[in-house]
Protein backbone atom coordinates (compact mmCIF):
# COMPACT_ATOMS: atom_id res chain seq x y z
CA UNK A 1 0.00 0.00 0.00
CA UNK A 2 1.33 3.41 -0.90
CA UNK A 3 1.15 6.50 1.30
CA UNK A 4 -2.00 7.97 -0.22
CA UNK A 5 -4.15 9.20 2.58
CA UNK A 6 -7.62 7.93 1.72
CA UNK A 7 -8.88 4.47 0.84
CA UNK A 8 -12.14 4.27 -1.08
CA UNK A 9 -13.76 0.88 -0.57
CA UNK A 10 -16.93 -0.20 -2.37
CA UNK A 11 -18.96 -3.32 -1.57
CA UNK A 12 -19.16 -4.39 -5.26
CA UNK A 13 -22.39 -6.23 -4.41
CA UNK A 14 -23.10 -9.02 -6.86
CA UNK A 15 -26.86 -8.96 -6.99
CA UNK A 16 -27.90 -5.44 -7.85
CA UNK A 17 -26.87 -2.53 -10.03
CA UNK A 18 -26.06 -0.55 -6.88
CA UNK A 19 -22.98 -2.69 -6.28
CA UNK A 20 -21.68 -2.00 -9.77
CA UNK A 21 -22.38 1.73 -9.46
CA UNK A 22 -20.32 1.84 -6.25
CA UNK A 23 -17.51 -0.06 -7.91
CA UNK A 24 -17.36 2.19 -10.99
CA UNK A 25 -17.74 5.34 -8.87
CA UNK A 26 -14.71 4.19 -6.91
CA UNK A 27 -12.65 3.78 -10.06
CA UNK A 28 -13.70 7.22 -11.30
CA UNK A 29 -12.75 8.74 -7.96
CA UNK A 30 -9.38 7.07 -7.47
CA UNK A 31 -8.29 6.94 -11.12
CA UNK A 32 -9.63 10.22 -12.54
CA UNK A 33 -10.51 12.69 -9.81
CA UNK A 34 -8.14 12.10 -6.93
CA UNK A 35 -5.50 9.72 -8.20
CA UNK A 36 -2.77 11.45 -6.19
CA UNK A 37 -4.71 11.33 -2.93
CA UNK A 38 -6.74 8.14 -2.89
CA UNK A 39 -6.64 4.49 -3.74
CA UNK A 40 -8.84 1.44 -3.39
CA UNK A 41 -8.32 -1.95 -1.83
CA UNK A 42 -10.03 -5.32 -2.23
CA UNK A 43 -12.83 -5.68 0.29
CA UNK A 44 -12.44 -9.45 -0.04
CA UNK A 45 -8.97 -9.14 1.48
CA UNK A 46 -10.52 -7.64 4.59
CA UNK A 47 -13.03 -10.46 4.72
CA UNK A 48 -10.08 -12.83 4.62
CA UNK A 49 -8.27 -10.86 7.28
CA UNK A 50 -5.20 -10.43 5.10
CA UNK A 51 -2.66 -8.59 7.32
CA UNK A 52 -1.71 -6.09 4.59
CA UNK A 53 -5.35 -5.14 4.09
CA UNK A 54 -6.07 -4.87 7.81
CA UNK A 55 -3.01 -2.69 8.31
CA UNK A 56 -3.98 -0.54 5.33
CA UNK A 57 -7.46 0.27 6.63
CA UNK A 58 -6.09 0.97 10.10
CA UNK A 59 -3.44 3.34 8.79
CA UNK A 60 -5.58 5.22 6.27
CA UNK A 61 -8.79 7.19 6.44
CA UNK A 62 -11.52 5.20 4.67
CA UNK A 63 -14.58 6.10 2.64
CA UNK A 64 -17.00 3.22 2.07
CA UNK A 65 -19.58 2.85 -0.70
CA UNK A 66 -22.38 0.39 0.00
CA UNK A 67 -25.01 -0.87 -2.40
CA UNK A 68 -27.51 -2.22 0.10
CA UNK A 69 -28.63 -1.66 3.71
CA UNK A 70 -26.40 -4.46 4.97
CA UNK A 71 -23.48 -2.05 4.51
CA UNK A 72 -20.90 -4.77 4.10
CA UNK A 73 -18.11 -2.37 3.17
CA UNK A 74 -18.60 -0.13 6.21
CA UNK A 75 -19.02 -3.04 8.60
CA UNK A 76 -16.01 -4.96 7.30
CA UNK A 77 -13.78 -1.89 7.55
CA UNK A 78 -14.96 -1.16 11.08
CA UNK A 79 -14.61 -4.80 12.14
CA UNK A 80 -11.02 -4.67 10.88
CA UNK A 81 -10.31 -1.68 13.11
CA UNK A 82 -10.46 0.96 10.40
CA UNK A 83 -11.90 4.47 10.68
CA UNK A 84 -14.74 5.25 8.26
CA UNK A 85 -14.75 8.98 7.65
CA UNK A 86 -17.73 8.81 5.34
CA UNK A 87 -20.11 5.92 4.65
CA UNK A 88 -21.91 6.49 1.37
CA UNK A 89 -25.05 4.54 0.49
CA UNK A 90 -25.61 4.22 -3.23
CA UNK A 91 -29.37 4.12 -2.75
CA UNK A 92 -29.26 7.70 -1.41
CA UNK A 93 -27.91 8.94 -4.73
CA UNK A 94 -31.07 7.67 -6.43
CA UNK A 95 -33.18 10.23 -4.55
CA UNK A 96 -32.21 12.83 -7.14
CA UNK A 97 -32.84 10.40 -9.99
CA UNK A 98 -36.36 9.11 -9.58
CA UNK A 99 -37.34 6.83 -12.45
CA UNK A 100 -33.73 6.41 -13.55
CA UNK A 101 -32.84 3.29 -15.55
CA UNK A 102 -29.34 2.61 -14.22
CA UNK A 103 -28.72 -0.77 -15.88
CA UNK A 104 -28.03 -4.08 -14.22
CA UNK A 105 -25.53 -5.70 -11.87
CA UNK A 106 -23.56 -6.60 -14.99
CA UNK A 107 -23.56 -3.44 -17.05
CA UNK A 108 -24.45 0.20 -16.44
CA UNK A 109 -26.80 2.11 -18.70
CA UNK A 110 -26.33 5.84 -19.25
CA UNK A 111 -28.29 6.78 -16.12
CA UNK A 112 -26.09 4.42 -14.11
CA UNK A 113 -22.94 6.13 -15.34
CA UNK A 114 -24.39 9.55 -14.49
CA UNK A 115 -25.16 8.43 -10.94
CA UNK A 116 -21.73 6.83 -10.62
CA UNK A 117 -20.14 10.11 -11.71
CA UNK A 118 -22.11 12.08 -9.13
CA UNK A 119 -21.07 9.69 -6.38
CA UNK A 120 -17.45 9.91 -7.52
CA UNK A 121 -17.63 13.71 -7.29
CA UNK A 122 -19.11 13.37 -3.82
CA UNK A 123 -16.18 11.13 -2.88
CA UNK A 124 -13.79 13.68 -4.35
CA UNK A 125 -15.29 16.41 -2.14
CA UNK A 126 -14.96 14.22 0.92
CA UNK A 127 -11.33 13.51 0.12
CA UNK A 128 -10.59 17.21 -0.24
CA UNK A 129 -12.25 17.85 3.12
CA UNK A 130 -10.22 15.08 4.74
CA UNK A 131 -7.06 16.64 3.36
CA UNK A 132 -8.10 20.10 4.48
CA UNK A 133 -8.78 18.86 8.00
CA UNK A 134 -5.39 17.19 8.13
CA UNK A 135 -3.66 20.34 6.85
CA UNK A 136 -5.53 22.47 9.41
CA UNK A 137 -4.27 20.19 12.16
CA UNK A 138 -0.66 20.60 11.09
Amino acid sequence: MNDKTVLVIPCSGMGKVHGLIGREATYMAVEDLTSDRADTICLAMLVKGEPAAVTAVREHTCITLDGCPKECARKNVEMSGGEVAKAIRIVDAFRNHRGAQPGTATTLAEDGWVIAREIAENVEEEIHMIYKDKEDLQ
Binding site: S12, C42, E71, A73
Partner: protein
Protein backbone atom coordinates in the same frame (compact mmCIF):
# COMPACT_ATOMS: atom_id res chain seq x y z
CA UNK B 1 -32.31 -33.74 -3.83
CA UNK B 2 -34.21 -33.32 -7.08
CA UNK B 3 -32.87 -31.62 -10.17
CA UNK B 4 -35.32 -28.73 -9.57
CA UNK B 5 -33.78 -27.90 -6.20
CA UNK B 6 -30.07 -28.15 -6.99
CA UNK B 7 -28.59 -24.67 -7.22
CA UNK B 8 -24.87 -24.24 -7.37
CA UNK B 9 -23.58 -21.21 -5.50
CA UNK B 10 -20.91 -19.14 -7.23
CA UNK B 11 -18.95 -16.74 -5.07
CA UNK B 12 -16.70 -14.24 -6.80
CA UNK B 13 -13.99 -12.33 -4.98
CA UNK B 14 -14.76 -9.23 -7.10
CA UNK B 15 -11.47 -7.75 -5.87
CA UNK B 16 -11.62 -4.03 -6.57
CA UNK B 17 -7.89 -3.48 -6.65
CA UNK B 18 -7.07 -5.71 -9.60
CA UNK B 19 -8.41 -6.52 -13.08
CA UNK B 20 -8.73 -10.18 -12.06
CA UNK B 21 -11.43 -9.14 -9.59
CA UNK B 22 -13.44 -7.45 -12.31
CA UNK B 23 -13.06 -10.46 -14.60
CA UNK B 24 -14.17 -12.82 -11.81
CA UNK B 25 -17.22 -10.65 -11.15
CA UNK B 26 -18.28 -10.37 -14.79
CA UNK B 27 -17.70 -14.05 -15.55
CA UNK B 28 -19.82 -15.00 -12.55
CA UNK B 29 -22.58 -12.67 -13.71
CA UNK B 30 -22.40 -14.20 -17.16
CA UNK B 31 -22.91 -17.71 -15.79
CA UNK B 32 -25.80 -16.52 -13.60
CA UNK B 33 -27.53 -14.65 -16.40
CA UNK B 34 -26.71 -16.54 -19.56
CA UNK B 35 -24.91 -19.84 -19.27
CA UNK B 36 -26.62 -21.56 -16.32
CA UNK B 37 -29.38 -19.20 -15.17
CA UNK B 38 -31.58 -21.94 -13.76
CA UNK B 39 -28.92 -23.78 -11.82
CA UNK B 40 -26.88 -21.09 -10.17
CA UNK B 41 -27.15 -18.49 -7.41
CA UNK B 42 -24.68 -16.13 -5.83
CA UNK B 43 -24.04 -14.16 -2.67
CA UNK B 44 -21.77 -11.22 -1.96
CA UNK B 45 -18.55 -12.43 -0.35
CA UNK B 46 -18.35 -9.58 2.21
CA UNK B 47 -21.77 -10.61 3.49
CA UNK B 48 -20.23 -13.58 5.26
CA UNK B 49 -18.69 -11.25 7.80
CA UNK B 50 -21.35 -8.57 7.83
CA UNK B 51 -24.38 -10.80 7.43
CA UNK B 52 -26.47 -13.01 9.65
CA UNK B 53 -26.41 -16.75 10.29
CA UNK B 54 -28.67 -17.57 7.34
CA UNK B 55 -26.30 -15.78 4.99
CA UNK B 56 -23.28 -17.46 6.52
CA UNK B 57 -24.95 -20.83 5.90
CA UNK B 58 -24.72 -20.34 2.15
CA UNK B 59 -21.99 -22.89 1.42
CA UNK B 60 -23.58 -25.39 3.77
CA UNK B 61 -26.84 -25.25 1.83
CA UNK B 62 -25.45 -25.02 -1.70
CA UNK B 63 -22.66 -26.82 -3.50
CA UNK B 64 -20.31 -23.90 -4.03
CA UNK B 65 -17.69 -22.70 -6.51
CA UNK B 66 -15.39 -19.82 -5.62
CA UNK B 67 -13.82 -17.61 -8.27
CA UNK B 68 -10.75 -15.67 -7.18
CA UNK B 69 -9.02 -12.83 -8.99
CA UNK B 70 -5.59 -13.60 -7.57
CA UNK B 71 -3.72 -16.33 -5.76
CA UNK B 72 -4.57 -14.93 -2.34
CA UNK B 73 -7.82 -16.84 -2.88
CA UNK B 74 -9.87 -14.62 -0.59
CA UNK B 75 -13.20 -15.95 -1.85
CA UNK B 76 -12.21 -19.55 -1.18
CA UNK B 77 -10.73 -18.73 2.20
CA UNK B 78 -13.61 -16.48 3.29
CA UNK B 79 -16.24 -18.95 2.17
CA UNK B 80 -14.63 -21.90 3.91
CA UNK B 81 -13.93 -19.93 7.06
CA UNK B 82 -17.39 -18.47 7.54
CA UNK B 83 -19.69 -20.75 5.57
CA UNK B 84 -18.38 -24.18 4.69
CA UNK B 85 -16.17 -26.19 2.36
CA UNK B 86 -16.35 -25.42 -1.36
CA UNK B 87 -16.72 -27.92 -4.19
CA UNK B 88 -14.44 -26.15 -6.63
CA UNK B 89 -12.06 -23.19 -6.38
CA UNK B 90 -10.96 -21.33 -9.50
CA UNK B 91 -8.31 -18.63 -9.82
CA UNK B 92 -8.65 -16.31 -12.81
CA UNK B 93 -5.01 -16.49 -13.87
CA UNK B 94 -4.98 -20.30 -13.77
CA UNK B 95 -7.95 -20.42 -16.13
CA UNK B 96 -7.26 -17.64 -18.63
CA UNK B 97 -3.47 -17.44 -18.40
CA UNK B 98 -1.15 -14.69 -17.16
CA UNK B 99 -0.68 -13.17 -20.60
CA UNK B 100 -4.38 -12.70 -21.23
CA UNK B 101 -4.94 -11.40 -17.70
CA UNK B 102 -2.18 -8.80 -18.12
CA UNK B 103 -4.24 -7.18 -20.89
CA UNK B 104 -7.38 -6.84 -18.78
CA UNK B 105 -8.73 -3.76 -16.99
CA UNK B 106 -10.53 -3.21 -13.74
CA UNK B 107 -13.09 -0.57 -14.78
CA UNK B 108 -15.81 -1.22 -17.36
CA UNK B 109 -14.89 2.17 -18.85
CA UNK B 110 -11.62 0.72 -20.13
CA UNK B 111 -12.64 -2.79 -21.06
CA UNK B 112 -12.09 -4.03 -24.59
CA UNK B 113 -12.02 -7.24 -26.60
CA UNK B 114 -9.28 -8.71 -24.38
CA UNK B 115 -11.46 -8.35 -21.30
CA UNK B 116 -14.45 -9.75 -23.14
CA UNK B 117 -12.52 -12.81 -24.22
CA UNK B 118 -11.21 -13.33 -20.70
CA UNK B 119 -14.74 -13.15 -19.30
CA UNK B 120 -15.99 -15.59 -21.91
CA UNK B 121 -13.25 -18.16 -21.25
CA UNK B 122 -13.60 -17.96 -17.48
CA UNK B 123 -17.40 -18.09 -17.59
CA UNK B 124 -17.33 -21.23 -19.69
CA UNK B 125 -14.94 -22.84 -17.24
CA UNK B 126 -17.23 -21.96 -14.35
CA UNK B 127 -20.14 -23.45 -16.29
CA UNK B 128 -18.16 -26.65 -16.74
CA UNK B 129 -17.64 -26.83 -12.99
CA UNK B 130 -21.36 -26.22 -12.45
CA UNK B 131 -22.15 -29.11 -14.77
CA UNK B 132 -19.70 -31.40 -13.00
CA UNK B 133 -21.24 -30.60 -9.62
CA UNK B 134 -24.75 -31.12 -10.94
CA UNK B 135 -23.74 -34.43 -12.45
CA UNK B 136 -22.47 -35.54 -9.04
CA UNK B 137 -25.56 -34.31 -7.21
CA UNK B 138 -27.74 -37.33 -7.99
CA UNK B 139 -27.15 -36.89 -11.70
CA UNK B 140 -29.16 -33.69 -11.71
CA UNK B 141 -30.09 -32.53 -15.18
CA UNK B 142 -29.10 -29.09 -16.37
CA UNK B 143 -32.06 -26.84 -16.93
CA UNK B 144 -31.86 -24.67 -19.99
CA UNK B 145 -34.14 -21.96 -21.23
CA UNK B 146 -34.09 -23.09 -24.82
CA UNK B 147 -32.07 -26.17 -25.61
CA UNK B 148 -32.71 -26.00 -29.32
CA UNK B 149 -31.30 -22.60 -30.05
CA UNK B 150 -27.56 -22.84 -30.25
CA UNK B 151 -24.60 -24.43 -28.58
CA UNK B 152 -21.75 -22.64 -26.87
CA UNK B 153 -18.17 -23.82 -27.00
CA UNK B 154 -18.50 -25.83 -23.80
CA UNK B 155 -21.15 -27.94 -25.58
CA UNK B 156 -23.97 -26.83 -23.35
CA UNK B 157 -27.01 -25.38 -25.05
CA UNK B 158 -27.85 -21.75 -24.35
CA UNK B 159 -30.30 -19.49 -26.13
CA UNK B 160 -28.61 -17.79 -29.05
CA UNK B 161 -29.64 -15.62 -31.97
CA UNK B 162 -28.07 -15.27 -35.38
CA UNK B 163 -27.50 -11.85 -36.93
CA UNK B 164 -26.03 -11.01 -40.32
CA UNK B 165 -23.20 -8.56 -39.76
CA UNK B 166 -21.13 -7.32 -42.68
CA UNK B 167 -22.46 -10.26 -44.71
CA UNK B 168 -21.42 -12.81 -42.10
CA UNK B 169 -23.74 -14.89 -39.95
CA UNK B 170 -22.84 -14.24 -36.32
CA UNK B 171 -24.30 -16.19 -33.40
CA UNK B 172 -24.83 -14.14 -30.24
CA UNK B 173 -25.70 -16.15 -27.12
CA UNK B 174 -28.42 -14.69 -24.94
CA UNK B 175 -29.34 -11.85 -27.31
CA UNK B 176 -33.05 -12.08 -26.55
CA UNK B 177 -32.35 -11.96 -22.82
CA UNK B 178 -30.22 -8.88 -23.40
CA UNK B 179 -32.99 -7.25 -25.43
CA UNK B 180 -35.50 -8.10 -22.73
CA UNK B 181 -33.30 -6.44 -20.13
CA UNK B 182 -32.62 -3.41 -22.34
CA UNK B 183 -36.32 -2.94 -22.99
CA UNK B 184 -37.01 -3.18 -19.26
CA UNK B 185 -34.33 -0.55 -18.66
CA UNK B 186 -35.84 1.77 -21.25
CA UNK B 187 -33.03 1.60 -23.80
CA UNK B 188 -34.44 3.72 -26.65
CA UNK B 189 -34.63 3.01 -30.38
CA UNK B 190 -32.10 5.67 -31.21
CA UNK B 191 -28.40 6.31 -31.73
CA UNK B 192 -27.99 6.55 -27.96
CA UNK B 193 -29.80 3.24 -27.62
CA UNK B 194 -27.55 1.55 -30.16
CA UNK B 195 -24.53 2.60 -28.07
CA UNK B 196 -26.06 0.96 -25.02
CA UNK B 197 -26.93 -2.18 -26.97
CA UNK B 198 -23.37 -2.46 -28.22
CA UNK B 199 -21.95 -1.92 -24.74
CA UNK B 200 -24.24 -4.56 -23.22
CA UNK B 201 -23.72 -7.19 -25.92
CA UNK B 202 -19.96 -6.62 -25.70
CA UNK B 203 -20.00 -7.85 -22.10
CA UNK B 204 -20.97 -11.29 -23.34
CA UNK B 205 -19.70 -11.40 -26.90
CA UNK B 206 -16.36 -10.23 -28.33
CA UNK B 207 -16.69 -7.39 -30.85
CA UNK B 208 -13.74 -6.10 -32.86
CA UNK B 209 -13.36 -2.32 -32.84
CA UNK B 210 -13.45 -2.14 -36.62
CA UNK B 211 -16.78 -3.96 -36.70
CA UNK B 212 -18.50 -1.78 -34.13
CA UNK B 213 -20.48 0.22 -36.68
CA UNK B 214 -21.82 -2.88 -38.40
CA UNK B 215 -22.68 -4.47 -35.06
CA UNK B 216 -24.43 -1.34 -33.86
CA UNK B 217 -26.57 -1.23 -36.98
CA UNK B 218 -27.45 -4.95 -36.93
CA UNK B 219 -28.18 -4.91 -33.21
CA UNK B 220 -30.47 -1.90 -33.50
CA UNK B 221 -32.38 -3.51 -36.40
CA UNK B 222 -32.86 -6.68 -34.37
CA UNK B 223 -33.75 -4.73 -31.23
CA UNK B 224 -36.32 -2.72 -33.21
CA UNK B 225 -37.95 -5.95 -34.35
CA UNK B 226 -37.90 -7.27 -30.81
CA UNK B 227 -39.33 -4.02 -29.48
CA UNK B 228 -42.12 -4.06 -32.05
CA UNK B 229 -43.12 -7.61 -31.21
CA UNK B 230 -43.06 -7.03 -27.46
CA UNK B 231 -44.83 -3.72 -27.10
CA UNK B 232 -48.20 -2.64 -28.35
CA UNK B 233 -47.28 0.85 -29.47
CA UNK B 234 -46.93 2.12 -33.01
CA UNK B 235 -43.24 2.07 -33.89
CA UNK B 236 -43.49 5.60 -35.28
CA UNK B 237 -44.34 6.90 -31.83
CA UNK B 238 -41.22 5.45 -30.23
CA UNK B 239 -38.33 7.87 -29.95
Amino acid sequence: MSSETVKVGIISCSGEEIPGGSISRLATRRVLELLRPNNTVTICLPLFLAGNEAEQDFARTHPTITVDGCDKRCAKWGTEQYSGPVNAALVVEDVIGADRLSKCHRSARNMNADDEEAVRVLAERIAEEVDAILAMENGAAIENDSPKEGVCSCSSPIPASVLTIDGERVEIPGLMLIFEQCMKNGVPLSEKGSEELLRTVRVYHPIDREKEHAYRKALMNAYREYYRSHQFVPLSSVK
